[in-house]
Symmetry: C2
Subunit: 393 residues, 2 copies
């Protein structure tokens, strides 16, 4: 079964229910539906994508998306965002066509007279710590590793725990693999950290980590494992509020306490989670990649697998991780896998390159996997799909 989100697929779904086309919507709450509109985006067979926004009263509408070409950099100025101007038609719809794009899940927003807005008619939304974006998928010819497929599915749990370190209740997402409920033995655990723009929901709602693990486990390429996704900000503990995502300067230290003293003990109490370092991995993207390095490299007796995805790692790694680099033998003895991946167009690429170079210099085993593109979510789904099969071997 193919799970694409194209118009063709929608028509197939309707057809399979015996309907030639979507019928008129039913009434709602006594207030009526808005009239049907053309879809806000359309992925065409050639993988170009048409965007349409109804905005008859706007005088400027732009499309934002990391799949667009960024304007050339200007010396001394911050990088300009990647935007495409949209064109207004006589019907009040603004349109633009982009691509063709490679099969992946993409994020986008509109800017209407200077204000950034998610697509008001697309329910696939990437919720963020500070802002949200709309999402769409360009389907591949066959289902991708992040697509739902007819395989056994694990369960995602949303657990609240009281963080003694931070003095607040917090929530974490925990994936258990298919068959977990029937099993008896302890399972290895991947602690998977989100980026600065996301929340504890991000690896599931945006990254589809649960579907990726389902598919890898079904294919026999990844071992069944628990995946724990905590909230990486030591503030905004209860509910997200505006600006709450901005942490103090020592945010990563506070988060390390939360992870090591609260999250892990809670997970090992609530779940059949192995406490052996050989059965523990820590990985993260961007800010979470920086946290995975900072926490992981300082706790080689806790985690024997480390993954840094487009990690927020700057400066000289030999200084940042002084103790770690002081004992290469211990590193090589303890670490089963030290995986570093980053897009070559990512502003953080030099940090990953410098880390790999320093590891090379000190003859510390690691895997450096530069990829195409920049600081984009579609890379992180791919990195997880490369990293997870190498764990707990």
């Amino acid at each position: 079964m193919k799970h694409s989100f194209s118009l063709a697929a929608q028509c197939l779904i309707f057809s399979s229910l015996g309907l030639a086309q979507p019928p008129a919507p039913a009434g709602r709450g006594g207030r009526g539906f808005p009239p049907p509109q053309p879809p806000s985006y359309e992925v065409r067979a050639d993988r170009t994508v048409v965007f349409r926004l109804r905005a008859p009263d706007a005088t400027s509408v732009k499309l934002n998306g990391d799949f667009l070409a960024a304007p050339p950099p200007v010396e001394g100025a911050p990088p300009a965002p990647a935007v495409a101007e949209m064109t207004k038609g006589d019907d009040g719809f603004w349109t633009v066509t982009v691509g063709p794009l490679r099969p992946a899940v993409y994020n986008y927003t509109f800017t209407v007279n200077g204000v950034r807005a998610i697509d008001p008619t697309n329910p696939m939304v990437k919720l963020g710590d500070r802002s949200s974006e709309s999402m769409f998928e360009v389907p591949a010819d066959k289902p991708a590793v992040y697509d739902i497929q007819p395989v056994p599915h694990g369960t995602v749990h949303i657990d609240w725990y009281q963080s003694a370190s931070l003095g607040v209740p917090r929530s974490m997402y925990v994936y258990t693999p298919p068959g977990y409920e029937q099993g008896k033995s302890k399972l290895p655990v991947l602690y998977l950290l989100h980026g600065s723009g996301d929340t504890e929901a991000g690896w599931v709602s945006v990254g589809r980590a649960n579907l990726i693990l389902d598919n890898l486990i079904a294919a026999g390429t990844a071992k069944p494992m628990i995946v724990v996704m905590p909230y990486g900000r030591p503030l905004a503990a209860v509910m997200l509020v505006p600006s709450a995502g901005r942490g103090p300067q020592n945010a990563n230290d506070l988060f390390a306490d939360d992870l090591l003293k609260d999250v892990i003990p809670n997970v090992e109490k609530l779940y059949r989670a192995s406490a052996k370092p050989d059965d523990r991995a820590i990985a993260g993207l961007s800010m979470g990649g920086g946290q995975a390095l900072q926490i992981g490299l300082a706790h080689l007796d806790t985690f024997h697998y480390i993954g840094a995805f487009s990690a927020a790692a700057r400066g000289n790694p030999e200084e940042a991780f002084k103790d770690f680099f002081a004992d290469p033998a211990a590193a090589n003895r303890k670490l089963k896998l030290f995986y570093i991946a980053c897009g070559k167009a990512d502003g953080l690429f030099p940090g990953s390159q410098a880390l790999s170079d320093a590891l090379e210099k000190h003859q510390i085993k690691h895997q450096f996997a530069p990829s195409e593109e920049g600081h984009v979510w579609r890379n992180w789904r791919d990195y997880l799909a490369s990293f997870a099969p190498q764990l707990f071997r």
Copy 2:
């Protein structure tokens, strides 16, 4: 501990971490943070709320929210939405002050030159089936039943199942009460259905059903129970896509099959869920209230508790539920609770009133609980908090 989301509370959180005020944000993905801005909303001590949106290039900005007064109805025209005009300042910020508002969680959006947009800087977003809204809370003097409190917390599970009825994989949210993992006995189950604008996540992410149950169970006013929240649309099965939320005319019949033949058997296989009709309740809001009536009243041997929250019930109930009304004795023998609640300002109120009147006429026991206000989420949190304590007694 008080959990409000006001500026005062944020300052308290920062203070408790030894910071006088939020520090400057750290860098992000090599691209830098946007400069700090004043919060996009501010709940003041007098429970008025100030909204601010930076939009120097916009020529019209409005605030939308169901807490605003709707304009007077115009004969023959559809009801106009409740909006407040915002005023542009020299600094490019548009502002408006509303309220005072009673303590509750509210939804809002902005309209920028005619385009509806969530608040671009507020991470509390109500994701919808067709569109999204931003949320804010006006805190009460003490934590409300929907606020997180220092009590034991249950777990929310996101489970995927293959719907044989619909031929697609679907996901459901399942709440298990605190201590579920350690227990042995079967628990009663509330099947809780969302409204037309929401998804299977709605009762948790918007309605906070999990926190409401945590608090009621901790207070000893509700029995520990499992709460199952399926997706009420028989289409858009895999991921939400634009317009996919619009179902066929027989959507409720298709959903009834999914619920009765797939959801319930799956729940009773995966969880320690009682299969006794005395241990099963079905309730829902709006569209889901209509489904709870349609499915519940036709299956008195499956569910002995029914809740209709602002239910989408129209027309003559004696015709719509002919078989049910044909046997009042069976209804009174089987139903332990038939709860009907609706806001008196709701366009659907006449439907609930007519249902209650028909039940009265046929001498069928029921509880009719009209409330203030209209078709608003804050009513449904309250209804759940009234309904759940009466279940499984």
